[in-house]
């Protein structure tokens, strides 16, 4: 194995395609472009690959969404993830341990039933369980009817699970590098050059470079980057926080999510619990943790798992999420600017989408045609009032 995951280069004057942002989506796009034979590509990353949400998420993967468009897309992604360790020759530690979404109210439970039915119709393995069936798989869970939010049922999704997020970023980066793509760290895009309705290139802290195609793949920073091209987005940037506990012997063998309680947790192979909550309630570009998050998470998780009352938290952190009005992404050309594309709006749920996002984005850039799979995620859908409502399936992260 090479000492470095990817090589360092001087910036060239021109590339066929410039990808702004070295997260999982930018690097996956680069990897699939190289695989499709498009190699004169640069990934420009302001800090280091994985600095954004891709290095800060709780790594939950699943495909049991609500809409037909969403289910098909996330299922393609899960399928690609299933073969990714082999394809990239990198142990991504993908553990398909099963994923629970708990229902605590009649309305949230009926939303889960709708999803179960939609999933079944589209061949995605996801079905309802009763509290007693949940208890069999999660013996430590509190299914008492006296809880503040008693558990009424759960949507169970056997192929869902967790993965090693850093490894996904590194493996896509290494794969892209092997395929001939240049990955540039510490290269911040400071302006996007547009002339007569066509994109010409980008200005960076290391100089100006030219390209006929430029794509913004910067998640939480999308509004600022696209503003450089004069493009307005429907995104709002909110921090999302997470924490990790000390290691304990294995006791939690499935991913557990509750949108009513705003929590999700899983246990890593090292024994730590990786936990998260809902987004901070107001837009913010800082990545500081809050005590409020820790308090709310702790109070809620103890309702589900009272055995955690003595558990110690090791670290807390935050990342930025680009929330959209319909909880679906944008992967799309921008009609007003020839050669300019946007991949973003991944909110709190985009890590699971990295392979399908990268694959379809690469296809869109290479062939100059939007693949059917991502047509519903067009930029124009907002102007046309044709939203792809995934709120019920994506609003509590994971």
């Amino acid at each position: 194995m090479a000492k470095q995951m990817w090589r360092t280069y001087d910036l060239k004057k021109t590339y066929d395609i410039v990808i702004i942002g070295g997260g999982a989506h930018g690097l996956a796009t680069a990897y699939y472009l190289a695989k499709m034979g498009v190699k004169n590509v640069a990934v420009l990353e302001a800090r280091y690959p994985g600095y954004g949400g891709s290095g800060r998420n709780t790594a939950i993967l699943r495909s049991n969404y609500r809409t037909e468009e969403g289910i098909k897309f996330y299922d393609q992604s899960l399928g690609l993830y299933e073969n990714l360790s082999t394809e990239l020759n990198y142990n991504l530690m993908f553990s398909q341990q099963g994923h629970f979404t708990l229902g605590h109210t009649e309305s949230s439970t009926s939303g889960l039933v709708t999803r179960a039915e939609n999933n079944k119709a589209l061949g995605v393995n996801s079905f309802m369980l009763t509290p007693q069936e949940i208890k069999k798989k999660l013996p430590e869970i509190n299914i008492s009817s006296h809880a503040r939010y008693p558990i009424l049922g759960a949507l169970y999704h056997p192929p869902g699970g967790i993965i090693r997020h850093d490894a996904v970023v590194w493996a896509y980066g290494r794969g892209a590098d092997k395929g001939g793509v240049e990955i540039h760290n510490l290269t911040e895009v400071q302006d996007i050059l547009v002339k007569n309705g066509k994109v010409e290139g980008v200005k960076t802290n290391r100089g100006t470079i030219y390209a006929k195609k430029v794509i913004s793949v910067v998640a939480g920073w999308s509004s600022e980057v696209c503003r450089l091209a004069g493009v307005k987005l429907p995104f709002v940037t909110h921090p999302l926080q997470a924490l990790v506990t000390e290691s304990y012997k294995p006791w939690l063998h499935h991913v557990v999510v509750s949108s009513t309680l705003h929590i999700y947790l899983s246990q890593t192979d090292r024994g730590e619990l990786v936990c998260g909550d809902g987004i901070d309630g107001y837009p913010h570009y800082g990545m500081r943790s809050t005590l409020g998050f820790m308090e709310a998470f702790s109070a809620h998780v103890l309702e589900l798992f009272p055995i955690l009352h003595n558990v110690k938290v090791q670290r807390q952190w935050a990342g930025l999420c680009d929330m959209t009005p319909d909880y679906s992404p944008i992967i799309s050309p921008i009609d007003e600017i020839e050669g300019f594309y946007v991949n973003g709006g991944w909110g709190t749920y985009g890590f699971k989408a990295s392979p399908a996002s990268g694959f379809n984005t690469a296809k869109m850039l290479a062939e100059g045609k939007v693949p059917d799979m991502i047509k519903p995620f067009s930029y124009n859908r907002f102007g046309e009032n044709r939203l792809v409502g995934e709120k019920a399936a994506a609003s509590v992260s994971s």
């Binding site: 920073w221 509004s223 600022e224 307005k232 987005l233 429907p234 995104f235 709002v236 940037t237 921090p239 901070d280 309630g281 107001y282 837009p283 913010h284 570009y285 800082g286 500081r288 809050t290 005590l291 409020g292 009005p325 907002f382 102007g383 046309e384 009032n385």
Partner: protein
């Protein structure tokens, strides 16, 4: 990152007492075309820096007001009633005002 927000009615209170209710954007006229309404409903400036926004003091006086807040550090904020916006928004949006 937590902070204190000044309700124009109640004074400084912890941000947890309030709900953020969206960026302050110019509302189109009733007769304006669909495109400007779609733009108003969905598109956001989402600025990394100072912007104007709506807040609702749900755990206090239950009134709505406007704030200027820096989204990078939550500081440098002024808060005021909707009726005061012509004076304050114009003044505050001038550089270094």
């Amino acid at each position: 990152m937590s902070f204190m927000l000044r309700c124009p009615n109640c004074g400084d209170r912890h941000v947890a007492e309030f709900s953020f209710r969206g960026e302050y954007l110019q509302r189109p006229q009733q007769e304006d075309e669909f495109a400007s309404w779609a733009d108003y409903v969905y598109m956001k400036e989402n600025v990394q820096g100072k912007h104007f926004e709506w807040w609702y003091h749900g755990s206090g006086c239950q009134r709505w007001f406007l704030a200027e807040r820096d989204t990078t550090d939550n500081t440098t904020q002024t808060t005021f009633w909707f009726d005061d916006r012509p004076r304050l928004i114009n003044r505050e949006s001038e550089p270094d005002a």
